[in-house]
Subunit: 202 residues, 2 copies
């Protein structure tokens, strides 16, 4: 039995490997064997930490969202600029991240949550619900910004909840289209339109 | 060797089965064996018509797009109503189709092209390019509508090409979000905002 520290390292290596491989390819294309090989761990060790690939994927989704919050969301939505400008900054930072990944991998990877949702939502209800929760968390952040914009008079008669959904949908769609073209150019061109979307109260 | 007519029938059954199974699940989750079983054909027969699952998928994508054109695009973009209203009709018909499928299958299936792009774009360049072409075809239809709207004075200073991309991105994102929620409600709520998206010339 390895020490506690080594346990944590092993678990983290498995998580990191799954994250890298699944993001670059797909859920189905990456098996437990490939994750173990990439992480340099034995299968027995894998199953000591994760009962299944699905359990690993749920942990991975949480880890990716925690990182996204830390590196992108908190930075983009810092309150040093007006509310709607923060949405633009979110789109811009996401575009820059995709450009960096494209330079290092040669492909547009898109959104890890959107990718797995489109691949798995009809097949794995547990994974679908986890992704839905992450999307809801992102909508909460956007709603807060929209509420501020309404309070400050930047926007009027706004259906905040529907607009937050529409903005997130647009964000996901721009990611999807860039991935389909394997081209990051449209990210910087299309993202600025996100903060312009409005669904009004009737 | 079966007759020509039976050949066509077999090929069509394979195509129909692949389409139904892959749309309901994913590319990776549906193997040649499952397609053959569903279609009631032998593996040898499968490989007589399609060298590989990828070749079948390329034919399937063409068939789905041909159907989409026939049943949705031509209907939505008929010239009996003003240009932008046709975009609204496209969103509405797509929402209705998803609702019907949801009623019969219990799940929101989303866009067959967006699904496969997010699953496969980094893994299969040939499939990615076919999907990119289909998305380009859809943008051509949207561009035509936007050109008319500009000519008739409905919109001014529009970057038609970028706006067509943005509208398609939004359409795909709304589909993705509905699939992630397994709920068709947001389709009818969010689709009307598609025709409102504008990216202006600088």
């Amino acid at each position: 039995m390895p020490s506690m520290e080594s346990n944590t390292d092993t678990q983290q290596r498995i998580l990191d490997s799954a994250r890298e491989l699944i993001y670059a390819r797909s859920y189905a294309d990456v098996g437990v064997a490939a994750i173990c090989e990439h992480a340099g761990v034995k299968k027995g060790s894998f199953y000591h930490f994760f009962p299944s690939k699905r359990d690993l994927t749920l942990s991975m989704l949480d880890a990716v969202y925690a990182d996204l919050k830390e590196t992108l969301v908190m930075k983009a939505f810092a309150e040093d600029i007006p509310p709607l400008a923060r949405l633009d900054r979110f789109g811009q930072l996401a575009a820059e991240f995709q450009q960096q990944m494209h330079q290092s991998t040669g492909v547009v990877l898109g959104c890890p949550f959107g990718n797995l949702s489109n691949e798995l939502a009809t097949q794995d209800e547990t994974i679908r619900i986890r992704i839905e929760q992450i999307f809801t968390n992102l909508q909460v952040v956007i709603r807060k910004v929209l509420r501020e914009a309404v309070d400050e008079g930047e926007i009027k008669n706004l259906n905040i909840e529907a607009t937050a959904q529409a903005m997130l949908a647009y964000f996901e769609g721009v990611m999807l289209l860039a991935k389909s073209q394997n081209n990051t150019k449209i990210l910087s061109q299309l993202m600025p339109a996100m903060s312009q979307i409005r669904i009004n109260t009737i």
